[in-house]
């Protein structure tokens, strides 16, 4: 290839990097269906939240000290009070870490409602679920770093769970903690996971998640099979109103930016004026291995699976098995749903009911996951846990029934 003299920087780069082609592939000729609603903007919202987490995290990293003797004060005094706008970065980091799960759940449940996990879109779903799992690990490891009472006791309780794994359990717990109890060694390894290893893995999976969208394309709100090549030709020929697709930039993103801006109004309201839900008061008491807080509970986004664990209040083993199932069952959605037709839940009578019962159950589990498991609460939690498992047992049956009935 002959390199010609460039008239401007853009041309110079294009000759060397193929930027014109790249912009087409990634932006102006990356086709998205037109028939979508604002729920399709939540991927970009998630990407923005992740960027906010990385940026605020880097500033926090400059002053945070991963040492049980120093961690608490480095967060609550150095960062919160001495460093200029250190409090702002901590608030952004804490609120984004909490809200990112709300958006992940909305994004996931949108995928379930519109059947966006099947008929060629399985890898989108699986890479997304991998992101959910790695974000969970990231959230859990980060929660330990301020070394407050909740950091310590949540770490104690959650790492203890691994002890129930047959044969290797007790050794595994020590291996994870790096000590017989949660201690300095635990803090430093969770620090390493939180600030380097997990973010690196997450970035890799985000790349995979985006890539997995390219072949099967983005779903739309009717589940309609769109001939992307034909529609793209129409669009490029100038029939923009008739074409069933829009380019990622500027059309799709223009709406995303609007949705994002509205979301950020809400987000920054939380950051400045309503952050208590993301920074538990108990965690402003320094970690103390001799004083167990009266109520230990995980962050809100783990409550539903935590309640599945606690729901079997009469048997720790059954609870752990159910907890294990709850954590992997969503991966299997593409195979548990036996109806291959991609349709929104509104067009699938049984699945529609299944979906809304699932939502109510998840919210019920979340709320009862925080309430003390005493008296009638234990039984309510048990009912919600059983219902959760039952939903995934009947899903193959109802979706099969729908496939057979849906042929008419």
């Amino acid at each position: 290839m002959e390199i010609k003299k460039s008239a401007n920087v853009g041309e110079w780069l294009d000759q060397r990097l193929g930027t014109t082609m790249l912009a087409k592939v990634l932006m102006t000729e990356y086709w998205i269906p037109k028939n979508i609603n604002f729920l399709w903007a939540f991927g970009v919202v998630l990407m923005t939240l992740f960027a906010l987490l990385v940026i605020s995290g880097m500033f926090l990293l400059m002053y945070y000290k991963p040492d049980t003797a120093l961690a608490f004060n480095s967060v609550n005094y150095t960062i919160m009070q001495e460093v200029a706008y250190g409090w702002l970065f901590r608030h952004i980091h804490a609120v984004a870490a909490s809200v990112v799960f709300l958006v992940i759940y909305i994004h996931m449940l949108t995928g379930i409602y519109y059947g966006s996990y099947k008929s060629g879109r399985e890898m989108i779903w699986i890479s997304g679920m991998l992101l959910f799992v790695t974000f969970s690990a990231e959230g859990f490891s980060g929660y330990m770093l301020p070394w407050g009472q909740m950091s310590y006791w949540a770490a104690q309780v959650i790492t203890n769970l691994f002890g129930a794994i047959p044969f290797i359990g007790p050794d595994l717990v020590i291996w994870i903690r790096g000590d017989y109890v949660v201690s300095d060694a635990t803090l430093t390894r969770f620090f390493a996971l939180h600030v380097f290893i997990l973010p690196l893995i997450i970035m890799g999976i985000i790349g995979l998640h985006f890539y997995s969208l390219r072949i099967p394309h983005v779903n739309n709100q009717e589940g309609e099979e769109v001939d992307f090549e034909a529609e793209a030709r129409k669009y490029k020929a100038g029939e923009k109103k008739k074409a069933k697709v829009i380019p990622f930039w500027p059309v799709f993103l223009s709406k995303d930016i609007f949705v994002l801006s509205v979301f950020l109004v809400f987000f920054f309201y939380l950051v400045f004026f309503h952050y208590g839900f993301a920074m538990d008061p108990i965690n402003f008491i320094p970690a103390d291995s001799m004083k167990t807080p009266p109520h230990i509970y995980p962050e809100w986004y783990f409550l539903w699976s935590y309640e599945v664990l606690r729901g079997f209040f009469f048997s720790a083993d059954l609870g752990l098995i159910a907890f294990g199932i709850a954590n992997v069952i969503f991966f299997l959605m593409p195979w548990l749903d036996r109806d291959p037709a991609v349709k929104p839940a509104a067009k699938r009578p049984y699945f529609f009911i299944w979906f809304w019962v699932l939502i109510v159950d998840l919210i019920g589990l979340t709320i009862w996951g925080k309430l003390p498991p005493t008296g009638v609460n234990a039984y309510i939690g048990f009912v919600f846990s059983i219902l959760f498992l039952a939903l995934f047992i009947i899903l193959p049956m109802i979706s099969k029934a729908e496939r057979n009935g849906g042929a008419k």
Binding site: Q81, W87, I106, S261, F272, P281, F284, P294, L303, I367
Partner: protein, 317 residues
Amino acid sequence: MRELKILIVLIAFTAVTYWGIEPYAHHVMHPHTEAPDYAFSDLEEFHVVGDAKAGKELFAMNCQACHSLSSDDILPPMGHADLVAAYGVYPPDLSTAGDLYDTKFLANFIKNPANTAFDSIFKKHKEEELAKAKALAKSDEEVAKLQHSFEKTIEGYLAKTKISMPGFDYLSDQEIANIIAYMKAVKKETTPREATAQACGRCHSVNYGDLTENSSRDQLVGYLGSFPPDLSQMIKSKGDEYLHKFINDPQKQLLGTAMPRVGLTEDAEKKIVQYLEEVGDAKKDERNTLGVYVLIFMVIMAVFAYFFKVNVFKEVH
């Protein structure tokens, strides 16, 4: 309109979840307790008016052996270490006592310190507990058991020595009132920081405000049984409502705690909580000011983004 419906569903489910895990869960985990009682209604009333001049003499005879009063040039009887060695704890300077502590509380305290700081209020809350337990009891036998264990608990509690200062119950009500009148006459006004140092600083440190407890760790553990926590982040971990209730009556929130009721007036208590907020949440003003600017910016950006979107979509719809 479909998008509006989706948005409403989204907000409704998010709101229910939030309500359940925040306000409702906190309401269940921290049941409502009564407001602070600044009248100290469980204590005895003193119906006499004190005379400050007579009080000065009484102070010299009864208080000065242990306490200093620097606002009226009365110095400590010996050095810090000697005092601690003699009494197990450092007797406070009383210059600010007239400003910080409630008159009725002080009168009761001088007469019977342990009863005022601990026993009376411990007994009151134990009685309430007993009444509740009795109401739930299923048999007379159970009621009798509850009554017996209650009496044992109270007996055991009263037998514990909780305060080094002896009771001055041989003084008349008039004499006690005179001493208090004297302390009020020479009282030193306090800033929020000084109030905290005087009322809390004998046991607690406030590291983020550079206040250190004025006894050593070993002495405090020896005197109280455990090391009292640093107060730097209390405003965040407990919140101002709880702090007011707790300072006014620690036994109500944490029955059996080693922390005494200190008898602060409502004003003094407000000063202390204000100081804890200044130290524990130093950037509050900056946060509230910047927050408004950022929100205004984001709203304007959303409006521009909306017009941009409408403009771009004109071509495709």
